[in-house]
């Protein structure tokens, strides 16, 4: 009895700092933002306590940011998926065990290095004196790459590819190789084996990767800011504008709350669609 009691005191003590963090840095700030989103903006730009849906009613003013985000995020996620899948498959099934760790680390490492610098690199490459200059040498003149949807998609795939490869790799690696052989022995063509055995069994990884990339893209700011040149802006860019430049916090809060709701709906859908989806980014980054 006393031993048990001591144990539970220890548990509480060990969890106190973490609980404080979750309470004061996550839960309470969320509540404050929700309260702000029902408030009004004062003449000088501050917040006036109130209970109105005006901010939400005003959301269509930023419709373009919504439509852009909800176009680029799903398409960007899909592009990352189709580029990541073959690599994940290669790493999990084909490559020699000796090289696997090294090759895997090489995929993960870029994800953890500065997204800022990596996105900046593409300003450099796609900008006036990068690839377009090279294309001029072979006679293709006047091709503009930076500040186009193409540039934004390149930035998205470049930034989030590693996050897509890893969960797919994990699910493919767990796959029982005997199943592939069995399918072969039973006369399945490689294509049929892939469609009927490999792909369905790797779906948890695909779903996890897609969800993680999609959520992060919904909040993306840097990629459209650097590669979209002000013409292609996401919700993240609208939020930076509202909180940092034009300082309309109540409206910004309504936008942020809406963004979080869209993300929560996506995650719940994902949880429903895939069973055993409890280890998302848990196992996908490390």
């Amino acid at each position: 009895m006393t031993d048990n009691k001591k144990g539970s005191w220890l548990t509480v003590a060990l969890l106190t700092p973490t609980s404080m963090w979750f309470l004061f840095m996550l839960v309470m700030p969320m509540i404050v933002v929700v309260i702000f989103s029902f408030g009004e903006r004062s003449a000088v730009g501050g917040y006036v306590a109130s209970f109105t849906f005006d901010q939400y009613a005003n959301l269509p003013a930023r419709l373009k940011a919504f439509t852009n985000t909800l176009t680029f995020a799903p398409i960007g996620t899909f592009l990352s998926l189709i580029i990541a899948y073959p690599l994940a498959y290669y790493l999990a099934v084909k490559v020699d065990r000796r090289w696997r760790l090294l090759l895997l680390v090489l995929v993960i490492v870029p994800f953890w290095t500065s997204l800022l610098i990596r996105t900046y690199a593409w300003i450099f490459i796609l900008g006036g004196r990068g690839i377009p200059t090279l294309l001029e040498f072979i006679g293709l003149e006047g091709i503009r790459m930076i500040n186009t949807p193409f540039a934004v998609y390149v930035g998205i795939v470049y930034g989030y590819l590693p996050l897509m490869v890893f969960p797919i790799y994990v699910s493919l690696e767990k796959l029982d190789k005997n199943l592939l052989e069995a399918s072969n022995d039973l006369g399945g063509t490689p294509w049929r084996t892939f469609m009927q055995v490999t792909l369905p069994l790797s779906m948890p990884g695909v779903a996890t990767g897609c969800m993680l990339v999609f959520i992060l893209l919904m909040g993306e700011f840097l990629i459209p800011a650097f590669l979209g040149g002000g013409k292609i802006f996401f919700l993240g860019n609208a939020l930076v504008d509202l909180f940092v430049q034009s300082r309309n916090w109540p409206f910004g809060s309504a936008l942020a709350v809406t963004l979080v709701i869209i993300m929560v709906v996506t995650v719940s859908l994902y949880m429903r669609l895939t069973l055993g989806g409890k280890n998302g980014r848990d196992q996908s980054l490390m």
Partner: protein
């Protein structure tokens, strides 16, 4: 298949290579390669704004990583024995903290802290004696460290918990059977086994905090971290100086990351 994979690796690493190459450019223009020189490194490192923001970033990253390693490890140890609704609650919060985009953390922290300061500062001013300047809470180092720690602490919990799960239970039972105190069991059996995970957590936390732009952008107040400095100089135009700073930042994170990856994997592979 093999060619395809090589192409993807090239896609991942060529942009990084280009930044590194052009950081050694001796020309005055960023995209006009004229010859090798380390001139821009000298320029970057003698720029007081760069050095100041670098020091700010290092202090914040070190504080966030240290805090996360301690609190995250403590929480992972406590959660390991926990079951029931509290466990579900904590798992949910950890999951949310890791998955949520940085911009949402930045905004919520900014709004909540500014609101809290608006309430606390007048009270502090009242409490202080006449004539003495009362302390004024504002955004700065502490707010960035606290906001980064939300993510990095959860990261350490996940890493350490995975290591605890893979630990050899028999050793702990043996230690208890041999009448070791719980503290001694922890210190001599558990800690050495989970230490690589804690170190990896520290390094990944450090890297995350050092590289973060968006959270700091919202809550750093008047302080400038290195990513904020780089962001505003890119906005002003590309110079080879940015390439040099970028290369330093990349090299720095690469070293920490590769160390972390090998700390995490070394033991798993040996099995």
């Amino acid at each position: 298949m093999r060619l395809y994979s090589i192409a993807v690796y090239l896609f991942l690493y060529i942009p990084i290579g280009i930044i590194v190459l052009f950081s050694f450019n001796s020309g005055r223009h960023a995209s006009d390669f004229q010859g090798l020189s380390t001139m821009w490194y000298g320029k970057a490192l003698s720029n007081p704004f760069v050095m100041e923001s670098l020091v700010t970033s290092l202090i914040i990253a070190f504080a966030a990583a240290t805090l996360s390693s301690l609190t995250g490890t403590a929480a992972a140890l406590a959660l390991q024995r926990m079951r029931g609704p509290m466990r579900v609650l904590f798992d949910g919060l950890i999951y949310i903290s890791i998955t949520i985009p940085g911009i949402v953390i930045g905004i919520t922290t900014l709004v909540a802290l500014v609101t809290a300061f608006d309430i606390v500062n007048p009270i502090l001013a009242d409490m202080w004696p006449e004539g003495v300047k009362p302390p004024k809470l504002s955004l700065g180092y502490a707010s960035v460290i606290a906001a980064h720690t939300l993510f990095t602490m959860s990261l350490v919990i996940v890493l350490v918990r995975a290591r605890i799960a893979g630990m050899d239970r028999a050793l702990i039972e043996a230690s208890t059977d041999l009448y070791a105190t719980p503290w001694r069991t922890f210190y001599q059996i558990t800690l050495p086994q989970i230490f690589p995970a804690i170190m990896a957590g520290f390094l990944l936390s450090f890297t995350f905090s050092f590289d973060d732009f968006i959270i700091s952008f919202f809550v750093a107040g008047p302080n400038t971290t290195l990513p904020i400095y780089v962001f505003s100089s890119i906005r002003r135009g590309i110079t080879p100086e940015v390439n040099a700073i970028g290369t330093i930042v990349l090299a720095f994170s690469l070293i920490l990351l590769v160390t972390a990856q090998f700390l995490l994997r070394a033991r798993n592979e040996r099995k």
